[in-house]
Symmetry: C2
Subunit: 390 residues, 2 copies
C-alpha cells in the first residue's frame, strides 16, 4: 500500500537520515519517485519502468544536498507516469489524496509530493516542473511551490522528460520552511534586485474561470502596496494559447526522444491518456518543430521586453480553476490541461522562475496566485512570498 | 496464475459441463475470454475492462451450442487486449506458451486458445478472427483453424471489435475433431459444391519469406492432385499491401468507434502498442474512409472474378513466416504485422472463409497453408482439409 493519503510509492522503504547539526536538521521531506535514491530503483510512476531498471548507483544531486544539510528523506512519492500529466491520476498506483480539496485531484505530476506536504506527512517535498508539475499541484493543494529558473538547479540523478523545459521544484506549507529549503538547493546565482514594479498579466487573468479570477483579483489589493508601481498589460500579442502551442510541440518532441527507445523495446503499459500523448508526440513533424522554435523565440523576445529594466515581477493565476473532480473523462481532462498550459507555458517557454502562493480559495478550494520573476531572481520571489504572506 | 502454458485467464473458474449424450460429449474446449459465460465477467484481455464490467447475463450463442451438443468448457483463455494484435504478447497477463515453437509467440489475438489446443489441454477451442486472430495462431502453433464466412456464425455474447470484419473461429489438432465442431456451430448455409479448381495466389506466395514459401510450395504437390484443374495467378492488380491498407483504415475506424466511449470514460491501461493503434485509428480521416471503402469494393469485385463459376478454392500462405521470437521491438512487430495483414486481409476485406492447415514446417517450426473458399463454402473447406491431411 502507498500509505497515508496514497502519497507514497508502494513497496519502497527508501529513506535517508539527515545529519544532526545541519541547517535543515529536524525537517523531514519526501522525494518524487523520479529522483534517484542510491540502492533503490527509481520507478517514475510506471510499473514497467520499475521492472526494467536497476537500483540507482547514487543519490540525486538535489537529494544529497538536502540530506547533507540535515533534512531526512522519509519516502518516495507517487508521480504521474514518466511525469506526463498535471492532474495526478495515476492509473497504476491510484490518485494521491488532496487533503485540502476532498474528492478532487491533487494535481500532478508531482502529485504525491504535494499530497504528503498538504497532509502534514512531511515538512517539505521535492517535485519537478516541465509543463507545470510543481505549480499546478501547489495551486490545487494550497501550497508554496516554485518552478526555478531553467538550468539553476542541477538535474543530475533525475528522470529527464524534455530537457529544454525540465526543472526541479519543491513544496512547503509555510514561507519560512520554503525559504530554508531554497537556501540549500539554489546554487549561488547572479546578483538580482528586489522587484519594484508589479505587472498584472491581463490576458492570463482572462483565462481563469470567473470565480477564480475574482478570488485572485481580490488578493491583488494586498499585493500591490508592496510595489512602488503596478500596471496591467497583455503579455501576448497573439494569444497565450498560441504561445502554449509552441511548448506543446517542442516538449512533445523532446519527451518522445527521451522515451522512444525504451518504449519500443519494452512496450510498456501506460494509461491510454499517456500513450496517446506519446503517439501524438511522434506525429509532430519537423516543419512543426521549426515553426514552434521560431514561436518560442518570439515569446522570449516579448517577455524580455516585459522584463526590461530587471525589477519587474509579473502576476498571474497559477491555474484556471481550483482542483477538478477526480475521474473526469479523458477528453475533458485533455481540454482542461491545454487551458492550464496556456498559463504555465509562459515560464516554460522562457525559462523564467515562477512561484505559486496559496493566497485564495473558491468555495473552500485552494487556488494559487503566481509571481513570475526575471532570470535568476528565484530568491527574490521567495522573499516576496514571505513579505506577502508573512 | 494462468495455469499450464499460461493459456488460461488467471482467477477465473468459469466452466460449463456438457450434456452426456450429445454429438460432442466427451470433448473438452476452452473459450477466448471475449465470449460471455453467464455469471462471469468477460475480461477481454485487459484488467480495466474486467474491473469496469459486470458478470455476463447469459452464455454466448456459440458457447451454448457447444455445451448443448455435449462439449464441456473447462476455462477461459488469454487474448490480446480487446483482440488488438496478432502475436499474443499480452503485457498484462503474459504470453501463452507456443508448445510447438518454444520461445516464440503463439500468435494472437486468440493466443490462449491456440496454446491450450496445441498443448493438449483441451480438444478444441474458440477464438475470433477480425484481422487474422484465428488464422495466424493456427499457422504459428500448427493447428487447424477457420475464419468462417462473415456473418455465418452469430456473434451474440461476444466482444465486437470491428463488426464488418468480426467472425468466430475455432482450433483443433486434427481434422476430424475440427469437422465435428463445425457441424454444430455452423448454421445451415447455402448449398455449395466441392471446389474442383485450385488457384495458386502467386502474389501471396511472393510475400512469404523464402524458406516459408519453399516449404509451402512443396506441399502443393500433394494438394494439386485433389483438383481437376489448377492454375496460378496474381490476385491483386495493384498489390496485396494496398488491399490490406483498406482493411487497416476501415477496421481501425470501426475498432475506435467500438471502444472510444469506454476508453474516454475509464482511461484504461493498455500496452503502448495497443494504445498507439487506437490513437492512430482516431486520426483516420473521413476522406481516408471513403477511399478505403471504394478500395474494399474493388477488392470484392476482383475476388468475385477469381471465384467466378463457384467451384474455386484459392491457396495461399497463412502467414509470411513461422512464429517470431517473443519480445521483439514494437516497431519490428508493427512491420511484421503489416506484412502478415497483406495475406489475412484478402478474406477480411471480402468476407470469404479461409482455413489454415498445419502442413509445413521451417526449421522445425510450424507454418500454415491456407485455402480460401467461396461464400458459404465453410464445410467444403473443412472437407477438403480432411481429404488433404487424412
Amino acid at each position: 500500500m502507498a500509505g497515508p493519503l496514497n502519497a507514497f510509492v508502494p513497496d519502497s522503504n527508501a529513506h535517508l537520515a539527515g545529519t544532526d547539526d545541519g541547517p535543515l536538521s529536524g525537517l523531514t521531506f519526501a522525494a518524487k519517485d523520479i529522483f534517484d535514491i542510491a540502492g533503490h530503483v527509481t520507478g517514475c510512476g510506471n510499473p514497467h519502468w520499475l521492472a526494467t531498471h536497476g537500483p540507482a548507483p547514487a543519490n540525486a544531486w538535489v537529494v544529497q544536498q538536502l540530506v547533507d544539510a540535515g533534512a531526512s528523506m522519509v519516502g518516495k512519492t507517487i508521480t504521474d507516469e514518466l511525469t506526463r500529466g498535471i492532474f495526478g491520476e495515476n492509473m497504476h498506483y491510484g490518485t494521491p489524496v488532496n487533503p485540502n480539496a476532498p474528492g478532487r485531484v491533487p494535481g500532478g505530476s508531482s502529485s504525491g509530493s504535494a499530497s504528503a506536504v498538504a497532509g502534514h506527512l512531511v515538512d517539505f517535498a521535492l517535485g519537478s516542473d516541465t509543463g507545470g508539475s510543481v505549480r499546478v499541484p501547489s495551486s490545487f493543494c494550497g501550497l508554496y511551490g516554485l518552478r526555478p529558473t531553467h538550468g539553476r538547479i542541477p538535474l543530475d540523478g533525475m528522470l529527464l522528460q524534455a530537457p529544454s523545459f525540465d526543472t526541479i521544484g519543491w513544496f512547503a506549507r509555510d514561507g519560512e520552511t520554503f525559504a530554508r529549503v531554497g537556501s540549500i538547493i539554489l546554487p549561488q546565482g547572479p546578483a538580482t534586485q528586489r522587484p519594484q514594479r508589479l505587472v498584472i498579466a491581463e490576458d492570463a487573468f482572462e483565462l481563469a474561470e470567473p470565480a477564480t479570477r475574482a478570488a485572485l483579483e481580490a488578493v491583488l489589493a494586498t499585493v500591490r502596496p508592496l510595489f512602488t508601481a503596478s500596471s496591467a498589460l497583455r503579455l501576448s500579442p497573439v494569444s497565450l494559447e498560441e504561445w502554449s502551442g509552441h511548448q506543446q510541440a517542442l516538449q512533445s518532441r523532446e519527451a518522445w526522444e527521451s522515451a522512444r527507445d525504451w518504449i519500443d523495446e519494452v512496450n510498456p503499459t501506460f494509461s491510454f491518456e499517456v500513450s496517446d500523448r506519446y503517439a501524438m508526440a511522434r506525429s509532430v513533424t519537423d516543419e512543426q518543430i521549426v515553426i514552434a522554435q521560431a514561436g518560442r523565440d518570439a515569446v522570449i523576445a516579448r517577455m524580455n521586453e516585459v522584463f526590461d529594466g530587471g525589477d519587474v515581477v509579473v502576476c498571474l493565476p497559477t491555474t484556471v480553476s481550483p482542483a477538478p473532480l477526480i475521474g473526469q473523462r479523458v477528453s475533458e481532462r485533455h481540454t482542461l490541461r491545454l487551458r492550464n498550459s496556456a498559463l504555465t507555458s509562459i515560464a516554460g517557454n522562457t525559462g523564467r522562475p515562477q512561484i505559486s502562493l496559496p493566497l485564495a480559495e473558491v468555495d473552500g478550494l485552494p487556488v494559487g496566485l503566481s509571481l513570475l520573476g526575471d532570470y535568476g531572481a528565484d530568491e527574490r520571489l521567495i522573499e516576496l512570498a514571505q513579505e506577502i504572506t508573512g
